[in-house]
């Protein structure tokens, strides 16, 4: 090589030189994204699974329903005892979300009935002032030649009126309530002797019949004018002849009276008198006052004290008792309880129970599985046999036996918890054990042991965090299983958690089948069934999504 070639480099002035590091930049791109950890990656992959995300939201919604639902019905109603208040009268009310008249979810049902029954409902409507018959009746003639009415009834207002027996204070309270709210709770008492006693229908003790009827079939006698034509009211309806009692002192001091009550006319006649005593005197001196309708009868005698027998309008009396207008979104069950709040309570119980069981089983299973898996050998063999034995016992049997043995000491719930824990942790333990078998011979464990780490430290600090993903998925998947078993057990009646203030989904399902409820009140079974079905589907979807997200081997295979 010629030296002259390099000569030109010898003459490069020093000023042309510069430090390479100062001007040059690395051609490697700096990482501007954050590192993605295991859980973050799982989260990201989970959120790509649309079905699982939707399922997660539905589960969230159901959980919110379970937490909020129990407070949405009046507490007085929820805590009412069947025997105290005759809640049974409000049994099997259909679900009502909208006002009556929509034909769907409005608390109405189409019923076919004979003429007498049709007029009976019409009379309830006229007496209470609440719409009972929605829309026009369809009149059909059946094979026997009978005229039948097909009408859409508002089941909430169609509940029969009934009598109650109260003390003087209660009577006073009801009258005060009437005046305060301007409603007519107390209805006039009926004089049965006005009825044709030959007619079995009208002479019956049916408390809703307040009108005269003399036809053989129980069809009411309508008011007629002098020519013998039936009078029609302003709505074009025939006018019932009231058969109310008029004589006797009823101690009725409320301002509220039925529109056609002669007493009301008298009261209105003297309403202009300011002074109360003068007005009362004027009213009582009016001859027509004696024909006013009677609102209560008394029972008892001066020794035992008097009780007042009142005939009440059920719709108003309900509001007086429970302080809300009846509108049960999911309807009521055979005992008259609100299905919505009971379902929410049952669901709340199921969720809390399942989560608690999952947590306990996770803890026991993790410790047991860790010890069995880490130490192996004889310890593992013995521990596996123990799980074999426990695993061989069907949960139903465990529950029955625990319920029989323990329920006396720790209550039904305690026995149920014991039964679920006894065998529940086995699945968790075996999955932890598998994880430990997988990881315990890995190099990092060897390294930790070489550095002098104790067994306990290796188990909890080095191996356990690696199996956490499996555990999280496992414990989420356990929850629907526990809810399912709990529902089956309560459905079969092996465990009974029912009380006026408490319920469980399983017993609601079985209640929906009893007494032919499925034919005339399918809503009793529909909502609990819908709830459990929705919950199970969503939990399965959610669990599958979670399992895939936490499975590192599926990473990057989705696209």
């Amino acid at each position: 090589m010629d030296n002259r070639q390099f000569d030109k480099y010898n003459s490069i002035p020093a000023s042309k030189f510069a430090f390479a590091s100062g001007v040059d930049t690395s051609h490697d791109q700096k990482l501007d994204t954050k590192p993605v950890g295991y859980f973050k990656d799982a989260m990201r992959r989970f959120s790509r699974n649309k079905a699982s995300v939707v399922a997660a939201y539905i589960i969230l919604f159901l959980v919110i329903f379970a937490l909020v639902g129990p407070y949405l019905t009046s507490a007085t109603y929820q805590n009412a005892q069947v025997t105290d208040t005759g809640l049974m009268r409000y049994k099997f009310l259909p679900p009502k979300l909208f006002n009556a008249g929509l034909g769907f979810w409005d608390g109405t049902q189409v019923k076919e009935m004979n003429q007498a029954n049709y007029y009976r409902y019409l009379a309830i409507e006229q007496e209470t002032g609440h719409k009972v018959i929605i829309g026009e009746p369809k009149i059909i003639v059946d094979n026997m030649g009978n005229t039948m009415y097909k009408i859409r009834l508002d089941q909430y207002t169609a509940v029969d009126n009934y009598t109650i027996t109260v003390s003087l204070e209660q009577y006073q309270t009801i009258m005060d309530y009437q005046d305060e709210h301007g409603v007519q709770i107390i209805l006039p008492t009926v004089n049965r002797s006005k009825f044709n006693t030959q007619d079995p229908y009208c002479a019956s003790t049916d408390i809703s019949i307040w009108y005269a009827c003399d036809s053989f079939k129980g069809i009411p006698t309508f008011a007629k004018d002098d020519q013998g034509n039936e009078i029609l009211d302003e709505n074009g309806n025939k006018v019932f002849i009231p058969a109310y009692q008029t004589i006797g002192n009823d101690f009725y001091v409320s301002e509220q009276r039925l529109p056609n009550d002669p007493g009301r006319a008298v009261m209105e006649r003297y309403a202009h008198i300011e002074d109360e005593q003068e007005r009362m005197a004027a009213i009582e001196s009016d001859p027509e006052w004696a024909t006013r309708w009677r609102y209560a009868t008394t029972t008892g005698n001066s020794l035992t004290g008097f009780s007042y027998v009142l005939r009440v309008s059920q719709y108003e009396y309900f509001q007086y008792l429970y302080d809300f207008e009846p509108r049960f979104v999911f309807g009521t069950n055979a005992q008259g309880y609100d299905i919505f709040s009971r379902l929410a309570k049952g669901a709340r119980f199921s969720f809390i129970f399942a989560i608690a069981i999952a947590a306990i089983n996770l803890t026991i299973g993790a410790i047991y599985g860790a010890i069995a898996g880490y130490y192996g050998g004889v310890a593992d063999l013995v521990m596996e046999r123990i799980t074999d034995i426990l695993g061989g016992i069907p949960t139903t049997v465990t529950t029955i036996l625990f319920n029989l043995h323990l329920a006396k000491h720790v209550g039904v719930l305690g026995a149920l918890i014991f039964a679920f824990i006894l065998t529940g942790w086995i699945g968790m333990a075996s999955s932890v054990r598998r994880q430990f078998y997988r990881f315990k011979n890995q190099e990092y464990v060897l390294a930790a042991r070489t550095l002098g780490a104790k067994d306990w430290r290796i188990i909890w600090k080095h191996i356990f965090p690696n199996s956490l993903g499996t555990l999280v998925t496992g414990s989420v998947l356990v929850i629907p299983g526990v809810i399912m078993s709990e529902t089956s057990l309560t459905y079969l009646g092996i465990i009974n958690l029912d009380s006026p203030t408490m319920s469980s989904i399983g017993s609601m399902l079985s209640a929906g089948q009893e007494g032919g409820a499925m034919t005339h009140a399918p809503h009793v079974i529909f909502f609990p069934a819908l709830f459990i079905a929705l919950l199970m589907i969503c939990f399965n979807l959610f669990g599958n999504g979670l399992r895939d997200a936490f499975n590192p081997s599926l990473r990057g295979t989705e696209e």
Binding site: R385, D388, I389, G392, I393, P394, T396, V397, I400, L401, L404, H405, P480, M484, T487, S488, Y491, L492, I494, L509, G512, Q513, M518, T519, P522, I525, A529, I532, A533, M536, I537, F539, N540, L541
Partner: protein
Amino acid sequence: MYMLKYTIKRILLMLMVFLVITTMYFVLIKLLPSAPATMFGKDMELIEARRELLGYNEPILKQYKYYWFGRTSYTFYELDENGEKVIKKDENNKTVYEQVPRTDKDGNIMYYVDSDGNKLNIKNEVTTDPLEYIILTKDKVDPETGRKVPVYVTKTVYDKSKIPAGREYVKENVGGIIRGYFGISEAMYIGTDVWDIFMSKIPFTMAVNLYSIFISIPVGLTLGVIAALKKNKLTDHIISTGVMVFVSVPSFIYAFLVLYLLYFKLGWVEATMDATQGAWSWRGFTTMIPAILSMSFGSIAGFARYTRAELSEVLTNEFMLLARTKGLTKAQATLRHAMRNAGVVIFPMIMGEFIGILSGSLIIEQMFGIPGVGKLYINSVQAQPAPDYNIFMLLGTFYTFIGLAAGIVSDISYGIIDPRIRMGAR
């Protein structure tokens, strides 16, 4: 060889586990207080006597021994005037023992009385203690119903010299599980052999399960295969969604739907099973349809899901490509190569399902009024006034056995189907 050793090991372990569980059952159920015999309102003396003989007043473990190995019994012979045993032969030339009848055909308890009408015990002494004067015989056959009424016999060993003239006894062991005798029902069907009760119920459980399997296996497999072959197409999406729904939703929800639609709305089926003509009759089958349908949905979905998952995994294997390359049609390749490999997982599942036909579904049986064993099981524990120990024990051990056996059968069948899997090999 591995297989054999593994199988034997598994069976031995299973027996051990089985023994422990049944012992636990026995102890737990016996810890429950038993109602006094007077609460049963009938056969009280017999119940007391039987309880005494079974050692109800003795420690539980001793009772457990009797439960397994039975107790000593004495059968009496009439003696003729020469002091010889009278041995009668029946038409099959079998010895007929002259037995003291437990009850006459009206169900009254019978015992020996003297000429004054006093009750006599085994030594021909006058007694008022029911334990002494009632002499229970073994394997008495009720002439009217043909039903066996096996009962334990007297409790004390007697000196031969004290045996009343004209009678002699033979000592033998009777009862106990080792002789296939599971005891008699003590609360629900008082006096009936629990094995007979069990055998009269099991056909119903088997019938409903079998019918359900015969529907669900072909339908489930077909749906699974279709879904796997059309993976990620519309067909697959529809099938997979359906499978998802039906796998998740509990079977009693379908049961409600089936009942509501087919019975209440359409009136095609009957709500509960008509068991009068037996489990395998046509009438039994037609009235069982709602139950069969309710049970099938879940199984169909389960089979379809497994088949789809397995088959779609197998279909991605390279040997499938080879199979197509060598000229097989898609159908041939799927049937001969893919299905066979997928079968490794599917077949044990079917096996498990077949074992499961005996166990029955508590809920479905309860809902559709099928008189199967599931219902019997719950009722036996909840029976009033006392749990029916023997029914519970029989069914408890039976269910446990089925559960354990199903595990072994499906494990072993893996090895049989797939030669590559050697269970228990190191």
